[in-house]
Symmetry: D2
Subunit: 436 residues, 4 copies
């Protein structure tokens, strides 16, 4: 998480101020439940809320206490008692630090997921708008980087839309994974705290109850969360690489928006580089890498050790802030992407009609040629065009006696129109975007 | 995937024989749909099934053809035409290799998921049985490897049960992710093949239709699948490490079953080592590592490149076979685990009652001592027992004048019973296993 | 490790036969040293060699014994005693299984490194030959996929040569890391075995003595080895991606060799795809991923646990066999690469001279224009050519009154020759390949 | 990189101030060389140094310019021209941004390596001191977590010393890998900049010349650097886990220093947890994970793309700052580690002499019993002690008639002394620490 790749709303979730506020809410809600159960005086709970609700917790003061006691939650509670007064001693009764820390982390991850969901929604909206705009913009489909058959630019974007729609679903599931609360005490037995306290806090914080915790909320939940972010990052990389390819000098079918005062290169004034998508390609590598320590965090010793904590202090903010930034940047790229349909057409025409070779192959088969013979017939003409020896695949076929023997010129020509390739675009769009 | 860590049912899914059989089914079902649509003769589809249904495809022959044409699907189709005869030319019409390859891979991954689900079910059953068996077997809960407070061995197993129940849900979701079929042609436009062919094949193979494919089924699906296996592997590691800890010489609360003729060490005849759980710890590292190349596979170029293929040829079998083996081995370990309740009790007694320190702390707070003072009171007595200077925490407290001033001996003693810690075990078991 | 991506010499290193042969040699050399020290009878050592030297160890028999005793080294020793007779009881005296297993693994890794070094040498030879062949073949240098300035195809290959020369050095270092031998007994104290036995075996097996082992040879050595393979794999990916880019339809500056009977696509007969480099791109992902479990293997518990073993049984063969295959395949691609200098020239000419923009910028600066003004002057002309509005950058500059005011036509033209860019090619080649 | 896990010297390397200062030095040294070559006026170079040498570059001002031009080096040069005046236009002549950025990054990584080397030295010093202190402190060696045979605590530390000594060598090599400088222009051809400029800057900055760069310094160098940090982190994890094991309640052979006011648990006042080593265990996971994006950075497109940049902006500081912190923390732990020799002895005595089983096995073999029979004899007595049925292994052996038949009581007793195990400690210490 570095300022250059951070956006304020996400960063705020991970600030000490937010953290201490959430800690307070967890403790205060717990106090409410304990008061209700008669474990602590009702007045105490009231006072805690009254004095703490709008208090500003002093981060530096808490840090100073922690430097001495070497325990963050104790430092916080000590500071709260400075604000709340003697009733503060009723806070945290029967609870353990992890009850506060883990529930807080999950609140933060849930809030982060909500921002990420909004990011994906914005990206989906941009993809959808541009997909419909270019629903029938002809462009060549490529496999292995080699021209294959015609497709449309809208279909490319529809695929990206479908992919991020899946990512949205995954993120909703991942959010649910971590939306749990544990107030179960030192080793999760509720020995010193009633399970109803947990139920109350969970509800108040918008979480579900963790069915069984040890001292901690089990980290397989978080592993799944960060692994999901890694998959989303991989989809970002895919779309970014598509655009980087399209912007290559030799291809130039699309281009990132280039603001007027922007300078592409300190040395070469002519350059307009796909720097945004290259940037998110790198960010995707980072988000993906965070999945690993998250998975290694699962195997804590016995009822818990604290090795996960340093990891989460880093990847909690790093993964969510970076992914938020990358998603937002990518949505902007798609939204303002400059598309060059003329170049798409020009590129598609480069191979002298070879992109229709399969249709000819099929037509020959239908005309009674064996598949193997048809393949050889087509390939021997195709290779002449491919090598540059000849320019026009159709003209060549018309001259091939073995082809001629099976198909008339008109029959051959019928295999070279584009509309044939686009007859199912509607079907695909309906599958992806629904009937509209 | 090595024989030592493989089980036959899972290995069979990845054999060439199974693969070619699935390829044939995809092609033959596609032929059915094309015949129905009038694209190819109905007789052709019938002949394909008639001749191919029980045919044994000759793997060596296919390999020999591939060595020449350097294309696996063409090699297969050539071999099928040797079996089916001239009608074979109607197969694969308008389809592309990836239609067959990707749909087949997904069939294999779905079948692998089914075996893994059964593995998890077996592990869950073992965990449940042993959890109820030891529902109230007292054992010490440990945080940071240090004694914390009492728990039960059944609760430890209940937590593992809940974790693998979550893994089961994740795997069901991951299975659904990859249960798709694409028969959409060279760049996914259905230019040469009717979408209804895809619908028919999908249904016949137990899959859903891929809403929009390019040439390939998008690899974010597979990334999610393998990431999920990585999370499951991490949970395996957690449970394995728990058992490894419990079997340590100094702890010895549980032990892997040790068969009669087994030798623990070539050099030290007295050794009984937790080799099975150590083994699955290593296997977990492997399964986890496969998530990464799976994520890197997402960003294929344009409508596809083939870089994912070599990865999947390796991790497809490696990840599923290894996870299958590890899950089965772990289920066996749990099923036959030797549990030593007496050692659990002995260990729990080691700290002279310190594990009850929190209860004393709370009791003092309730007796009117401030939290900070109570903490100091408890700690100054606890440290003497901790250091070995004194043996009996309760006796010591009874002698402390500041404690005495607030609590009678009887009040103190009430904080040292175990039942207090187990009063909510039922509640937790109900949450995890449901009412029964 | 799958047959498709395996070569026999590397695979043989990892066969059970090779393993048992190495085990025997370690045990027999150890017996020699013990006999020399008077620990065991000299006759015993002689008999062990005499009977075992040319014996064929029966892998199935050993597996059968292991199935019973569940210990691989004990199973092996039992089988050896069937061959050697009663003197076999003197083998392994005071040794522990890991002495044999770890030393054997290191022998295998050293041999694997030797093959990989030969692979790199072959790749370096191909790169050097082609680099000199195309030392002055003009091609455009690209940053961000956008034309930047002229370079030569030979320089591209020289960079790859330098990169793999570094990889060679790294591999030599990695080989040295694992070239150690430990015969130090149960916990590495030489309690039951004289350190001179270790020295003898090390020397006989071409290894160095491990200065301090526990029960095992420390795994940081192996982590470094596999991490190094991961870096080499990343360089493979870089070169593979370069070729994949060059073979794109729109670029087509180079192409993988395409054999006569090869079929590029089952559906599109015209396709010639860069399948070999795409393939090694995927293989590189795999080799890279193995670095992770190798690093996780370092932190074994106390004097050792066995969790590393299952990992190494997999990544030992998988990483070395796959990297061997990828290196050999890549060397073949480079060796037979079809290069299209005419296309390189054509591509370089696409931007109407924009690739010379920096030289014009510098010339303007030298003519007294401030850097900022010069940048603006160049950019305003460049953008017209970039957008396609104009075709000839030089002609445009000649017409720009502000440029005219500072430079004559002839002065401008001087900035558009290629030789200027190649004047230091010799210097670079000397740096990379040495004086010749 | 978060403040909690950062130390100021390392953090300073990555501050914007340091970065801009290095950028200036690179540009000013380059200006010197250009002046010497007559490319720019000598006065210009002088002025640049004179005005820039002690200037404080205004980070906010540079950021503001970058926000407009969207190019960091151009923003910097613009700001420098505000300080230096018109002569600034001679800076950066013929250079490209990457010349500055990459050389700067390498300077930073070299400086970071120097700090890390000092960290390792401190750790080595602590390990050596404690190793000699406990050279002959008896403790049990454990394999699989199970008691094996006696070793000494000093030997454990000597192994850690040897491991970190290896890590030191690796880091020296990794430092050398990245200690290169490139001033080679837009695509590395030196078209606009003389190679002697590069030579001059390299020397001035303490670097070697990069033999062949494209636009960038090749990233295999950085991949190797970060992979090496990952291996070092793995060794940190190993030593940390050793200490965590030793501090477990049931083992308690060593303990992290616990300061007087420190609180182990908010809920349980008796706790003293190994939180420092748990913390570095987590940090090790992070440092290890950064190796992956570093490896993915190698395969930049053509002469470069910018995807590596966002990665390096994050892992440059994150990996070095985190590793610095972890190494320093670990050195402190070792330095102040509380060692409990009495507990070590007590633990060693737990198994009633079973840890001597191997010596008895060997003695029986020497007395003429076959290895298989000796193993069975030892195991049948060992298992009774292991199970707790019997307490004293030696006494049991003395009563076994089959043992009795081969060995006298005195002969048996000779196998139960500790000194036997320590006779080679000197040899090992000499290997590790050298003669002293």
């Amino acid at each position: 998480m570095i300022p250059r790749y951070s956006r304020p709303a996400m960063t705020a979730i991970w600030s000490p101020e937010t953290k201490f506020r959430i800690w307070f809410e967890i403790e205060a809600h717990a106090a409410d439940a304990m008061a209700e159960l008669g474990v602590i005086p009702k007045e105490a709970a009231k006072t805690i809320w009254a004095k703490g609700k709008d208090a500003k917790f002093d981060v530096e003061r808490i840090d100073a206490i922690e430097a001495e006691v070497k325990h963050d939650v104790i430092a916080f509670l000590t500071h709260v008692s400075e604000i709340v007064g003697p009733e503060a001693r009723y806070m945290h009764s029967g609870m353990t630090s992890s009850d506060v820390l883990d529930t807080c982390l999950n609140v933060q991850l849930v809030r982060a997921a909500d921002i990420l969901l909004a990011d994906i929604d914005a990206l989906l909206a941009a993809l959808k708008r541009r997909a419909f705009e270019h629903k029938l913009t002809p462009t060549v489909g490529r496999s292995h980087g080699i021209h294959a058959e015609p497709t449309t630019f809208g279909l490319k974007l529809a695929q990206a839309y479908a992919e991020f729609a899946r990512n949205r679903e995954r993120l909703v599931a991942a959010r649910k994974e971590v939306a749990t609360c544990a107030i179960s005490g030192a080793v999760g037995t509720f020995a010193q705290v009633d399970p109803r306290v947990e139920e109350h806090v969970a509800k108040a914080m918008g979480l579900a109850v963790e069915p069984v915790s040890t001292q901690v909320i089990p980290r397989d939940r978080h592993a799944m969360y960060f692994a999901t972010l890694g998959v989303i990052a991989s989809s970002i990389e895919r779309l970014a690489i598509e655009i980087r390819h399209l912007q290559r000098t030799e291809v130039l079918e699309a281009e990132e928006f280039f603001s007027e005062k922007q300078k592409g290169s300190s040395a070469m004034p002519h350059k307009r580089n796909p720097v945004l998508t290259e940037n998110v390609t790198g960010l995707a590598r980072m988000v993906r890498s965070y999945a690993l320590p998250a998975m290694e965090n699962v195997a804590l010793w016995h009822e818990r050790d604290i090795s996960h904590s340093s990891v989460e202090r880093m990847i909690g903010p790093d993964a969510t802030v970076t992914l938020d930034f990358a998603l937002a940047r990518l949505a902007g790229v798609i939204d303002k992407l400059i598309v060059y349909p003329a170049n798409m057409q020009k590129n598609m025409d480069r191979l002298g009609g070879l992109i229709h070779s399969q249709r000819v192959l099929i037509a020959l088969t239908k005309a009674g040629v064996s598949r193997e013979d048809a393949y050889r017939l087509v390939q021997r003409n195709a290779m002449k065009v491919w090598s540059g020896e000849e320019k026009d695949f159709l003209a060549l076929l018309k001259k091939d006696p073995d082809v001629k023997a099976k198909m008339s010129d008109k029959e051959l020509e019928a295999n070279f129109d584009l509309d044939h390739h686009y007859k199912n675009v509607d079907t695909i769009f309906k599958r992806v975007f629904g009937a509209s």
